[in-house]
Amino acid sequence: MGITSALAAQFGQMLLVLALAPALTGLTRKMKARLQRRIGPPIFQPYRDLRRLFNKDVVLADNSSWLFRVAPYLIFAATWVAAALVPTFQTGLLFSWAGDLIAIVALLGAARFVQAVAALDTGTSFGGIGASREIMIAALAEPAMIMVVFTVALVAGSTQLSTIAAFMADTGGLRVSLAMALVALIIVALAENARIPVDNPSTHLEVTMVHEAMVLEYSGRHLAMIELAASLKLLLYISIIACIFFPFGLITDGAGLSAHAISLAAYLLKVTAASLLLATLETVIAKMRVFRVPNLLGVALMLGLLGTLLLFVSGGM
């Protein structure tokens, strides 16, 4: 396969996730609204919001520095690059050899750092609250994520997502460590994406918000970039979970057109299912108090550690 078609597949995938991300957010909102017997905004509402935000002027605080202005682009870029490393419907893409799961965690960590620093930049109290809470959550979520990576890597013998997906697709059997890793990864994903038990994505109540408090000062195209990056991050986590734990329908390069169509359909199905599950979860559980969150993330960390430990036992055979 020539470099041109490899590049085309890679860029096609990058554009696909970018195009799909707002729809995922819209779909989740819609399903949540339906579960609460509201009609809810249409699925494509996030696209309209983004278009409106891009057309609006940017209002900058007087005391904000250059950092405040470049941060949205940095956040978006880091998230998009991370998303490019995750196989969605095709494994073994060109860029996927450039970085593994640890690189993805690092890219997302960098994006979070920039966001927290930008939130502190304007010197408002909300930015400060948001940043400190976000860092508190991240300080626990990131080790948990790394432990999940270790567990999966010990099972599959690689931290490379394409290799892991290939390994998972052809080995069956029950592994309790992987189940623990899955639960831990879901908790981490909920925390990282500011979803309900940790943070409420649709609130503007100051005592509870985390992510929204950080982006409160942004407007116009800057806000659009941040919103898009947030949607992209949600899709990225869903793709990671799908590719590690449910790797059916993935194709490697050189597959035919019909195989492409099937794998794309499988991917869309997985994302829809994940979105439905997320909406259900957000409907049935309540948000936690901020100071209970470390307990939840501690559970994720513990599951990751335990998964790794249990692997050493089964490694003995």
């Binding site: 029950l174 189940a179 623990m180 501690g298 513990m302 003995g316």
Partner: protein
Amino acid sequence: MSPSPLAFDIAHMFAGGLVLVSFMMLYQDRLLPLINVLSLHSLLLALSVAWQAHIQDKPDLYVTAVIALGFKSIVIPMALRRMVVRMELHREVEVAVGTGMTMLLGIGLVALSMDLMLRVTAGANALVREDVALALSVVLLGLLMMVTRRNAISQVIGFMSIENGLILGGAGARGMPLVVEISVAFSVLVAFIVIGIFLFRIRERFDTVDLQALDRFRGEHR
């Protein structure tokens, strides 16, 4: 006898699940949910022992499984629940040592037992090794639970989970003789009844089942 990979995976899943449920016990600080967790713990033990009976082809282990299911998963949790409701403890939130610290200690204990057991049982068959290692972790986690809790009922639950761990180890290793098994089950039941009576006596005398009251009574610190 070397077990097939699938049989091993299933045994590993049940035993690993048991360790996980032990952690859930450490995490849970309200009494009624804690009793439910104990019930789940015993249910998993019963499944695990039944699976061992199946792959080792030892019918007497099925009896162990049934005892675990009947007594420890149904009768004792029901009795405990009645006790909690009668003593009006079901609204109490227990001040544990601190969930994070307890969890870290627990992880440390699991790591310790794996390291120890995998060395000691180096020559044995894989099924026995993982079973014994995980059983030791369950026992140590039960002890940790008894150390970190102050409420007498959670200490009883910790004690029950230690016993579950012992049975898991016994079932995995060579299978306990049935007589030993039944006598252990009954001694646990007797211990349970004694503890139950004891609990009511403590409550009558001190108006609480918080064991720090005993410390004060004996004149130890504070």
